[in-house]
């Protein structure tokens, strides 16, 4: 197992979420959803805490985490990039957009860049088919994205972060 040690505070947060759901094994998906919302991802150590709290086996927790593509064991980047692969976006070329992101960032789907800035994922339909193909970076939606635009989108965020880092 990759050795990360959870802080007492993180463990406390996970336990609170579990107890909010009555420590019921049947609430596993809800618990995972909330914990990922809080921590950004579900590493092995987190799954172990959840298994213990809900009194189910770690193997079961891991089984659910690996079944649903929404759950991730890899930390999301500071700027999580999601490319819509829904029907409308797909027919309007989202696959080429995805390929360009992969090429620019040198990562595969489900991975993050080594500096932790960007992570790349696919999603299914964000309900903005009129803007297809759609890319989301964090909460921000980019419409009618072409492969040529990819480089600029990434650059905007890179520069943005540099600025933030200075001011911090």
């Amino acid at each position: 197992m990759p050795g990360i040690k959870l802080s007492e505070k993180t463990i406390g947060q996970i336990k609170t979420i579990c107890s909010d759901f009555g420590n019921q094994g049947s609430e596993l998906i809800n618990v995972l959803h909330q914990v990922q919302g809080k921590l950004g991802y579900l590493p092995a150590e987190v799954q172990e805490v959840i298994a213990k709290e809900l009194n189910i086996s770690v193997a079961k927790v891991y089984g659910v985490v690996t079944f649903y593509s929404y759950f991730t064991m890899i930390p999301l980047g500071e700027f999580p990039i999601s490319i819509c692969m829904g029907t409308a976006c797909y027919v309007r070329g989202s696959e080429q957009v995805l390929a360009e992101f992969k090429r620019q960032l040198k990562v595969e789907v489900g991975q993050s860049t080594p500096d932790g800035q960007f992570s790349l994922n696919c999603l299914r339909c964000v309900g903005a088919c009129g803007l297809a193909p759609v890319v989301m970076v964090g909460e921000k939606v980019f419409g009618r994205v072409s492969p040529q635009m990819v480089k600029n989108i990434i650059a905007d965020y890179k520069e943005g972060t540099a600025g933030e880092a200075k001011s911090a």
Partner: protein, 583 residues
């Protein structure tokens, strides 16, 4: 109870509400083929994920075929089990499974015992019409169990055993779609997990995805090495099941033939783990009485109940899950390890063979015994007390390889001095047997009186959790029995909560005890086989002249010549052990 009327293959049938089509059909003698489905009657073990779709049948009025194993009957239902459509679908399903299966049947460990192979044969599959990608998954080898997940058909039987029956929770379906496999958490290897090696996953796996580590080759090498003296011990449950591998009726006792076969295979001495079982009773029984007497005398430091410690999967289970209770089980080693320890000291001295040149092989109904024999505390300077632990199935393979006509063998007797045993020892092979054997000896030592009876029916049976009170001449002794680790967990939680009423508890990991061990001939979901083996064990006990461990003359001699007394310092050194916190 509400009753449901339906017809299956035009035959009317009335069954209770909630019955599945599969069960209703089998009740009127209609056999619907199944693959993932498994049910062990009277043992609360059922696996019906409806995953494989081999059992599909036609239900009038329904557009799709229905899986018989998990479709409940409804009033007026008309079921046809073997229409052309159903049979074709069944064959298609099996072809699709085979399209993602390494077709290495000729050399697969499960060949001849594989439910998938049988199904393909049964359905007359001659061509696989679907070509496609094949799953590739690394092989995982542990001290006892090998996982070849390429051969997994996702029937989930192992998952049912590991989670619902044993509550160990190592195996689970992980990933999705084509990449779905059954694996431990984070897809770690078994030997990093909390796996107890009970082998119940192996016992129920329909294919070669889960098998035991095969050590027959190493044993053959030892047998052919002229510098080695090779001796063998056979566990009680083996003699009640080995015959099945040679087409004999389940429950046939083959003790004499087994001894003859081992001699023909070239073992220098054929001994009996039963001898060590008698020794276990002396050690464990004495420990029980010591603790009990102190407890009755009011010693607050004494911990009760005492738990049996013969079962290696059980030992690993509490080391992982209940480490705070590790002072409660008896410190007595298992019979396999007691035998190894005595063989490599007392017996090696007797025949003047150096420890390094004495090879101890054991034949066990168990895969966890492989792991147990590899535990470092059971070796001296790197030389293990037990060199190889083979399963009943592996012994059958050796006998077949030796081209020995097993059924035609004469009955032969074990060698001495480590081959003599009592009826109390042989019942170690079934749930309830260890504690009954202990009672027979402990009663006489505690009360100083001969037992009024030898058969303790109240300790026998197949219920997962049993309890009984035995009157030790005015002192009531409360006894608990659990088989299956899920049942054991319940008793342990009672102890944790300080609510346990028992003085002594027997625990065996496998349903039925060792007769249902993970190394036994495959039962293919037929619980009746386990019951027949159990009856065989008790009949061997009844037929023995001596039925109490402390009356075994060779045990008496062993204490006189070598060990001194039960629980002596030497006994402690050679026959006892300690447990580790593995949480």
């Amino acid at each position: 109870m509400e009753m449901i009327n339906l017809t299956i293959d035009n035959k009317p049938v009335v069954v209770p509400y909630g019955t599945t089509i599969l069960k209703a059909a089998s009740g009127i003698g209609i056999d619907i083929p199944t693959l993932c489905y498994m049910k062990l009657d009277d043992m609360n073990i059922e696996n019906k994920p409806g995953g494989c779709r081999v059992c599909v049948v036609e239900v009038k009025g329904r557009r799709n075929l229905s899986p018989a194993c998990c479709t409940e009957v409804t009033e007026g239902m008309e079921v046809e089990t073997h229409t052309i459509r159903a049979v074709n679908a069944r064959r298609t399903v099996v072809e699709l499974i085979l399209s993602d299966h390494p077709a290495d049947c000729l050399i697969c460990a499960k060949s001849g015992n594989c439910d998938l192979q049988d199904m393909a044969h049964h359905l007359g599959v001659r061509k696989i019409h679907y070509e496609g990608e094949k799953s590739m998954y690394r092989e995982d080898t542990s001290p006892a169990i090998i996982r070849e997940i390429d051969k997994c058909i996702m029937c989930r039987r192992c998952e049912t055993m590991c989670n619902d029956v044993q509550t160990v929770g190592v195996l689970s379906a992980v990933n999705r779609g084509f990449h779905a496999v059954v694996a431990p958490a984070f897809e770690m290897n078994l030997d990093h997990s909390v796996c107890t090696y009970c082998g119940q996953c192996v016992a129920v796996c329909p294919t070669g995805a889960l098998t035991e580590v095969d050590e027959t080759g190493a044993v053959i090498r030892a047998l052919s090495d002229p510098t080695k003296t090779v001796i063998v011990q056979t566990a009680p449950a083996v003699r009640a099941a080995l015959g099945e591998e040679f087409g004999m009726e389940a429950g046939t006792l083959v003790t004499g033939k087994m001894v003859a076969a081992l001699r023909r295979l070239g073992f220098n001495y054929v001994f009996d783990t039963d001898f060590a079982a008698d020794l276990t009773i002396m050690e464990e029984g004495t420990e029980l009485l010591t603790r009990l007497s102190a407890f009755i005398a009011g010693d607050k430091k004494v911990k009760l109940p005492i738990l049996t410690s013969c079962c290696p999967a059980w030992v690993k289970f509490f080391e992982h899950s209940f480490p705070e209770l590790k002072d409660i089980p008896s410190t007595a080693r298992s019979p396999q390890q007691m035998f190894g320890s005595i063989a490599k000291t007392y017996f090696a001295d007797k025949i003047e063979v150096k420890r390094e040149n004495l090879v101890v092989v054991s034949i066990m109904p168990c895969v966890a015994k492989k792991y147990e024999s590899s535990r470092p505390e059971f070796s001296v300077n790197g030389n293990p007390d037990v060199d190889f632990a083979l399963t009943t199935r592996e012994l059958a393979r050796l006998i077949k390889l030796g081209n020995i006509d097993f059924k035609a063998l004469p009955n032969e007797d074990f060698d001495q001095p480590l081959g003599e045993s009592t009826g109390a020892a042989v019942i170690f092979g079934t749930t309830g047997g260890v504690i009954e054997a202990a009672v027979r000896t402990a009663y006489e030592i505690f009360t100083g009186k001969p037992l009024p009876r030898l058969d303790f029916e109240e300790l026998r049976g197949m219920d997962g959790l049993r309890k009984a009170t035995i009157d030790f001449n005015g002192t009531p002794i409360h006894i608990g029995i659990a088989h299956g680790l899920g049942n054991a967990r319940k008793l342990l939680e009672e102890i944790q909560a300080g609510k346990s009423e028992f003085h002594a508890i027997e625990i065996m990991s496998c349903p039925g005890g060792c007769i249902g061990g993970g190394g036994q001939p495959y039962h293919h979901g037929d619980a009746e086989i386990l019951k027949k083996r159990q009856r065989a064990i008790y009949s061997e006990d009844t037929n023995k002249t001596i039925r109490k461990s402390h009356e075994n003359p060779y045990i008496t001699k062993l204490y006189e010549e070598f060990l001194g007394a039960p629980n002596s310092e030497k006994s402690h050194h050679l026959l006892h052990t300690k447990y580790f916190d593995r949480s």
